[in-house]
């Protein structure tokens, strides 16, 4: 089937989509957007997190056909004028990236958190990231990255998450 959707602000017509395939598969294998990672295909790890109409979702559990007419934003779409988003920059600087497999999902989820709540406390950060697993970092550096991103977004005027 054909799926017509908007990804990172660009309209796409994607052909030959299998009716049972996930949005994650369509993004990675048919649209050349491999930023969202496939690690579990069952909603447990969060590495495939993308925005669907402004709400983070596991792309592995969204049917490709459900993206028809909707707006998707992936980690690739968060850069501003080809510059890394402050959340992305903070993950690098805080050492929150080791193998990097969980990172795209964590970045989208953190981006959403800071948009809704610019000053989250640690409990709120943990709750927001409860659906994102990282097997490398032990999470401490990830918490550091979120706090750093929150600080930066707060001080950099005009930087909208």
């Amino acid at each position: 089937m054909r799926v017509t959707t908007t990804v990172n602000g660009e309209p796409y017509d994607v052909d030959d989509v299998w009716e049972g395939e996930s949005l994650l598969y369509m993004l990675r294998e048919r649209m050349g957007l491999p930023g969202s990672k496939n690690a579990c295909e069952q909603g447990e790890c969060g590495s495939c997190t993308v925005y669907v109409d402004g709400l983070p979702a596991c792309a592995c559990l969204v049917a490709a056909g459900q993206a028809q007419g909707h707006e998707i934003i992936t980690v690739e779409g968060l850069t501003i004028d080809d510059e890394l988003h402050p959340v992305q920059q903070a993950f690098i600087e805080a050492g929150a990236v080791q193998c990097g497999f969980c990172t795209p999902g964590l970045i989208v989820q953190t981006h959403d958190l800071l948009q809704r709540d610019p000053h989250p406390d640690d409990a709120e950060i943990r709750e927001a990231l409860a659906g994102n697993l990282c097997r490398c970092t032990g999470y401490e550096k990830i918490l550091d990255a979120v706090r750093l991103a929150a600080e930066r977004l707060d001080t950099v005027s005009g930087a909208q998450p």
């Binding site: 069952q42 909603g43 659906g131």
Partner: protein, 290 residues
């Protein structure tokens, strides 16, 4: 496979009638796991996310009508006061990403004994609205679950809504799991005080082939509260009463041993959760919080 995506409720019912073997799809948080893992290959998917009517909720006098496609995130954000027990349960579901897509209607459609919506819906005395081109009917929630992952909906029907009375008293929900997030319950319990009817509502999760009420425990407690004049006095509950209630809730369960927990642990935890949720709810009632 076909992908059927009606955009009106009338079309959805017509498509359902034509394709009784199509698998309904809302949030996809159960369906897509099964498809990704090749556990299911339905001839068609019937995507209901384009049907706006399903994602609305409304209040008609005393009754809240929750569309089958309302997500957990919206239950938490919009219905915390209106359906407190269900909102408490919704907060424990999966992760933010799962709650943004997963729906109460999907939880009913899956009819898993471990589904977290079931205990509060049982305790609250909900009804499930089922619809087909022939018409609409409502089924009392305790008659909805017909077996392990089986429910009373026919192949030509869809779940349109859940009907729940606004609470007349406090509600509580408790769930046991191995961590605080992303966890299928080992056991769960929902409790509702219905002071207007001087009645107690209960719902047991993950401790029987289907979600179920603890009917005998409900009537035991309701009449004990009556005998002691506690509905009116809002006085302290005797410890012996909360303990007896816990034991009777436990007696209503018939759990199994599985990877998430043993039957013995499930029984023990149910008695504890029943006692605790009653204590919490009664403290609210005594303090005049409804």
């Amino acid at each position: 496979m076909e992908f059927l995506a009606p955009t009106t409720w009338a079309d959805a019912l017509a498509v359902r009638q034509e394709h009784p073997d199509a698998l309904a799809l809302t949030g996809g948080t159960d369906v897509m796991v099964e498809i990704n893992f090749d556990m299911r290959r339905p001839p068609a998917l019937l995507d209901l996310t384009g049907v706006r009517e399903l994602s609305d909720w409304s209040r008609d006098g005393d009754v809240v009508r929750l569309g089958a496609g309302v997500t957990y995130t919206r239950v938490i954000e919009e219905l915390g006061d209106v359906l407190p027990g269900l909102a408490m349960a919704a907060r424990t579901v999966g992760s933010p990403q799962i709650r943004n897509r997963g729906t109460v209607g999907g939880n009913l459609g899956a009819a898993s004994p471990a589904g977290d919506s079931h205990p509060p819906l049982l305790a609250g005395g909900a009804e499930v609205e089922l619809a087909s081109v022939e018409g609409t009917r409502t089924v009392p929630i305790e008659e909805f679950y017909t077996g392990v992952k089986q429910h009373a909906g026919r192949p030509d029907e869809l779940i349109s809504a859940i009907l729940v009375r606004s609470p007349s008293g406090p509600q509580q929900f408790s769930k046991i799991g191995t961590r605080n997030a992303m966890v299928i319950s080992v056991s769960a319990f929902g409790l509702a005080l219905h002071p207007d009817e001087q009645r107690i509502g209960t719902g047991i999760g993950s401790a029987a082939p289907t979600p179920r009420r603890a009917v005998e425990a409900e009537s035991f407690l309701s009449s004990a509260l009556d005998d002691l004049g506690l509905w009116e006095s809002r006085g302290a509950l005797p410890d012996s009463l909360t303990r007896e209630f816990g034991d009777r809730v436990k007696a209503a369960a018939s759990p199994i041993d599985d990877v998430r927990g043993t039957a013995a642990y499930r029984l023990h935890s149910l008695a504890v959760m029943a006692r605790r949720t009653l204590t919490w709810a009664w403290a609210d009632y005594a303090g005049g919080i409804t």
